[in-house]
Amino acid sequence: MSTREKTWWWIAGALILLYCLFPIAWIISLSFKGPADIANGQFLPSSPTGENYSTILTGTASDLFLPALRNSFGICLIATFISCILAMFAAYAIARLDFPGKKLILSTALVVAIFPVISIVTPLFNLWRQIGLYDTWLGLIIPYLSLTLPISIWTMSAFFREIPWEMEQAAQVDGATTWQAFRKVIVPLAAPGVFTTAIIAFFIAWNDFAYGISLTSTSAARPVPAALGLFSGASQFVDPTGSIAAAAVIVTIPVVVLVLIFQRRIVAGLTNGAVKG
């Protein structure tokens, strides 16, 4: 490759980097702007300050933000855990066993994945009010399964198809039952796929806004995206922009860290499920 060509590739790469990071850089920069700087019309703060972070972590906005952060982590982790367990069994059956209805399960997963969230929200809103699940953790965990289960099943079955299943047969020849072969041989082999699926499912639950804003009303269960959406309407602070930016940065950090650590696997997980599925 000539130096000239190389330069062009570097420029193209730099443009992509700029594209990906620019809005993130902007919100980080915004989060360090003080009240006087917020409307300065500049990209960068003229005198960076940590004020916004103290507002949301210890100050006036902390009773809106901190419970939301706890709710988000708790609800998303539980929903991810449940859907990964269920999807693990389902994906094993789909990738490994021969039984009628396999196609039905995969098509159901596809239909559920494309289901408009808002169409589920309307009846749930009414139902949850009647049976007392409105504004509770469980009231969000259940609908979150509709977001996380389908993609978990698809991604995991794609991963499971790649597993060297001869190992399982070898174990069965050695006298293990199907169940033992699954637990002792396949689970360790499948762990990376399960783990990747868990990350992707967590992203999806973490990203939810429609359920969060519709099925909660207090800090008892309200997750972060919904709380962020309400920051603007809350009257307890003068200008919520800086606080929103700081809160946005805090909730973005965990996912960016996960992405940077596991990027290779996540890419494989996202594309396997969709292209080969």
């Binding site: 990906c20 789909i94 021969d98 494309i114 408009p116 990203n207 804003i213 972060v224 995206p225 990027q263």
Partner: protein, 320 residues
């Protein structure tokens, strides 16, 4: 001849059931299969099929949550009200506009990104792949805020940076008008979801056989010809999958609109309309009817795509 065969034979070809019922082994396998996959299947049905049936039921009533005494059965009355209301058709138009604009731009941009990533220098590739996942992983609400603040008349920098362009000045209110609001909404959506498309297309690019490219090159095809005659036809499946998922996703747009405009200036999408009827106005009946219509739209798009997709697949097979 009935001999016990070794497992490999059993695996590759489907077991032809012996006359007079299925073997114990395959019956056990069948039972195990449903035992393992059953719970996930049942839960998926419970969390979607049940609510949508409930929504269909509610949609037949004149039912307001604050006024439960006056709940009355009105048949398809709610659908009549919605389908003759300009608000519904405006929401449909906005949703279709956003879907078409974002998906077309994302497909082109995503393809360009995928091409750069597939050809990029070895040293650059992991960095790009990690970076491109960041917009995907950022919460939609956060991305919506970031774009809103950037264009906002008070906190933004866009007006200052682009003041040299005609029509943009310090007092340009991007969220004061329907089309400029929609432009910013589309920008935010495109930024957030292009990486997903480009990753799918990158996987598709990797499946295009190199020999075909080389043969075309030997035959003297230009870069452009190779792109249109070799690369794109060979990754049609990946393109269709990306298109299908993104179109359905775009049609359900809700988060960005809620954050950026809250439906002001005629920027309401179908999802937002359903939300406003049900949650804000507690018109359970009307809101349910909008939800059901939204569901039918999404299923219609999916069905259309899959029908089209099948035709494409058979065409591709016929060409080979």
């Amino acid at each position: 001849m009935t001999t016990t065969t070794l497992p490999p034979g059993k695996k590759t070809e489907p077991v032809s059931a012996p006359p007079g019922g299925i073997s114990d082994r395959s019956r056990a396998e069948r039972r195990l299969g449903w035992m393992l996959a059953g719970p996930a299947f049942v839960i998926m049905l419970l969390v979607t099929a049940y609510p949508i049936v409930q929504a269909v039921y509610y949609s037949l009533f004149n039912y307001r949550l604050t006024d439960p005494q006056n709940r009355s059965f009105i048949g398809l009355g709610n659908y009549g009200v919605i389908l003759t209301d300009a608000l519904w058709w405006q929401a449909v138009a906005v949703t279709v506009f956003i879907t078409v604009v974002t998906v077309v731009v994302e497909l082109i941009l995503g393809f360009a990104l995928a091409l750069v990533m597939s050809k990029a220098l070895q040293s650059l590739r992991p960095v790009l792949r990690a970076a491109i996942l960041i917009p995907y992983a950022v919460i939609t609400v956060v991305s919506a805020f970031s774009w809103q603040f950037a264009f906002s008349i008070t906190t933004g920098f866009v007006n200052k940076w682009f003041a040299w362009l005609p029509g943009i000045g310090a007092d340009t209110d991007w969220f004061g008008d329907k089309w400029t609001s929609l432009l910013v909404i589309c920008l935010a959506e495109i930024w957030k979801t292009t990486p997903f498309i480009s990753l799918l297309l990158l996987a598709g690019l990797a499946q295009v056989p190199d020999v075909l490219q080389e043969a075309a090159m030997v035959d003297g095809a230009t870069w452009w010809q190779r792109m249109w005659r070799v690369t794109i036809p060979n990754m049609k499946a990946a393109i269709m999958v990306a298109l299908l998922f993104r179109s359905l996703d775009a049609f359900r747009i809700f988060d960005s609109i809620y954050i950026m405009t809250a439906g002001a200036n005629g920027t309401e999408s179908v999802s937002f309309l359903a939300y406003r009827q049900t949650i804000s106005r507690v018109e359970i009946g009307l809101g349910s009817a909008v939800s059901v219509l939204l569901f039918l739209c999404v299923m219609g798009i999916a069905f259309g795509f899959i029908k089209g997709f099948r035709i494409d697949l058979s065409q591709a097979r016929g060409e080979r």
